[in-house]
């Protein structure tokens, strides 16, 4: 046996720089492998948004926008935001499931940064947002959606949407660390996400809403992201919504990431 004595491989690796980044990436790869092994976990970012698009476009399109095509142009960028924002919930649920398993004990007993397993999960789940954006764009195009601005702005819209979802997913990580069961993470997630995603101009123009709801829609950060995505993909104001989106993203990650790491340490 070559358990300890034989040294064909360096006995112990020396100190190497950028530990947290390397460890987080190694753990992100683990998340990625898990996602690839269980592709059914991607249903919420592939089939589900497609169903939303079909329902909304054909049920409401005529009433709200006068034609299904005009409605689709406004809806699709917003649904991209809704889907990716919801997609972050899986990160919280998975972490909540994972943390009870022995494998997290192992991570905690290794000389790695305390936040590495969390950063790894959040980074690995970026794939979910990419899948969501790509599948919505493909399906939207089939239904007749057309980018009216250009390739670069459209790409910028996709990246902005993914960035916001990434930052917001730290809030789900926090919930995942605090909740006792995966079901609770989902419950709390839905409770927060319905007003955040539906309390926007996603389905109907804000001008048609009662004033109390319009006040909420106007301060809701998700509204800014949806407006930014619309502006970048089909035209309209861009600078303001993009700036608001970046500000909110920074604020959200600055608040929730440290809280999530702290909650993880406490739970450990």
């Amino acid at each position: 046996m070559t358990l300890i004595a034989e040294r064909t491989v360096p006995a112990r690796a020396g100190h190497r720089p950028f530990g947290l980044a390397r460890h987080s990436l190694a753990l992100a790869r683990r998340s990625l492998i898990k996602t690839v092994r269980t592709p059914e976990q991607l249903l919420d970012v592939t089939l589900q948004p497609v169903i939303f698009v079909v329902l909304f476009v054909y049920l409401l399109g005529g009433a709200v926008a006068g034609s299904t095509h005009d409605y689709l142009q406004q809806l699709l960028p917003a649904i991209m935001v809704q889907t990716t924002v919801f997609g972050g919930m899986a990160t919280g649920v998975n972490l909540n499931t994972d943390i009870g398993k022995g494998v997290f004990d192992r991570f905690r007993s290794l000389p790695i940064g305390r936040s590495a397993p969390l950063i790894g999960s959040v980074l690995g789940d970026l794939i979910r947002y990419v899948v969501a954006v790509v599948s919505l764009l493909l399906f939207g195009t089939l239904m007749g959606f057309r980018v009216e601005t250009g390739l670069l702005p459209a790409l910028a819209a996709c990246l902005l949407v993914i960035l916001f979802a990434f930052c917001l997913s730290w809030a789900f990580v926090l919930v995942g660390m605090l909740a006792r069961q995966p079901g609770a993470v989902q419950g709390i997630g839905f409770l927060a996400l319905f007003p955040l995603t539906f309390g926007t101009s996603m389905i109907a123009p804000a001008e048609t809403l009662p004033s109390w709801l319009r006040s909420w829609v106007e301060v809701n950060p998700v509204t800014h992201v949806m407006n930014a995505a619309r502006g970048l993909m089909v035209g309209g104001p861009v600078a303001g919504p993009v700036l608001w989106t970046l500000l909110w993203s920074a604020l959200i990650v600055a608040v929730f990431a440290p809280l999530a790491v702290r909650a993880y340490r406490r739970r450990a």
Partner: protein, 316 residues
């Protein structure tokens, strides 16, 4: 005397429950400390403190002279942990699991792969290396788990009930690994519910119960406390049970017990008692369907040390 790890007066409470009520544990470098106790005795809590996963409420613990709370990061560089449940990632293959650990231990990718291949070969998992761990049998999972804790060639290895639930052949494999590790200079903390296992592997044994160490010593000294070995006889003819009991009483000088129907047992001290029993049974013409010499069970150890059985809790 240099200790690879030592713990003094560990106390850990969960609300009103006291998991550890002042536990001292220590092992010299290159030895095996067996921690013997029933479920809920506090074995896992003690291991988790020594593995930096839990902070003690009171007391202190050190690994390689480094305090587990103040120098947790450095301690993590010295230890390997194998939990009661296999702590491997089910969706990852055997190789991916081990390479991940290697990468987290700062091995370069090529080295991490080489180390993974080495360990997979050592633990007879080469054929299963490319399959997700969820397809593994219980024994294979344990082996992979053990391999994962050895990727970094730790100085101190914690094995928390590594053989619970394994069949005897698989258990022997794990025992062999433990012996190899110690021969290679590692120090092992092994928790177990089986005196036989502690006896086979440990240099010293600490018996813990209700969060306290109730006995400590070498396996030999502990066995002398609990009355060495036990002879069990099951006569083929139920009616000869009392004759068999009389033989056991005569040879051992103790009153035999009948722990289950048709069986009598008695603790014996000397090495010759067993052959003596066989002779006398033969002379009396008592044929037996079962006749064995075994170490006391954990329950019997506890009965000797505490005067009560492991199952009987004063307040559940």
């Amino acid at each position: 005397m240099s200790y690879a790890f030592e713990a003094e007066g560990l106390v850990k409470r969960y609300g009103k429950t006291t998991a550890l009520a002042g536990v001292d544990l220590a092992a010299r470098t290159g030895t095996v400390l067996g921690v013997l106790g029933p479920n809920g005795a506090g074995k896992t809590t003690a291991v988790r403190i020594l593995a930096t996963l839990l902070r003690p409420d009171e007391g202190r613990a050190a690994v390689g002279g480094l305090d587990v709370v103040k120098h947790a990061a450095e301690v993590r560089g010295l230890i390997g942990l194998t939990g009661q449940y296999a702590s491997v990632d089910e969706d990852l293959t055997g190789t991916q699991n081990l390479v991940l650990i290697g990468r987290l231990l700062n091995l370069r990718t090529a080295d991490a792969k080489a180390r993974a291949a080495e360990l997979l070969a050592d633990f007879d998992l080469v054929e299963a290396a490319g399959r997700p761990a969820k397809t593994y049998s219980g024994g294979m999972r344990r082996r992979l788990d053990l391999a994962a804790s050895l990727v970094g060639r730790p100085d101190v290895i914690y094995l928390d009930e590594p053989t619970t639930g394994l069949d005897p052949a698989k258990r022997d494999d794990i025992w062999h690994v433990v012996r190899t590790l110690v021969a290679d200079g590692a120090t092992v903390l092994l928790t177990t519910q089986y005196l036989e296992e502690a006896d086979a592997l440990a240099d010293e044994i600490s018996v813990i119960d209700h969060g306290r160490v109730i006995a400590h010593g070498t396996p030999a000294s502990l066995k002398s406390v609990v009355g060495g070995q036990t002879i069990l006889v099951r006569p083929a003819d139920h009616d000869r049970l009392s004759d068999a009991a009389a033989v056991l009483a005569a040879v051992s000088g103790h009153q035999p017990e009948s722990p289950s129907r048709g069986v009598v047992t008695v603790p014996v001290d000397g090495d010759t008692a067993f052959t003596e029993v066989v002779k006398r049974l033969d002379v009396l013409g008592i044929s037996v369907t079962e006749l064995s010499l075994r170490l006391p069970s954990l329950d019997e150890v506890f009965f000797s040390l505490t005067g009560r059985h492991t199952g009987t809790e004063e307040a559940a």
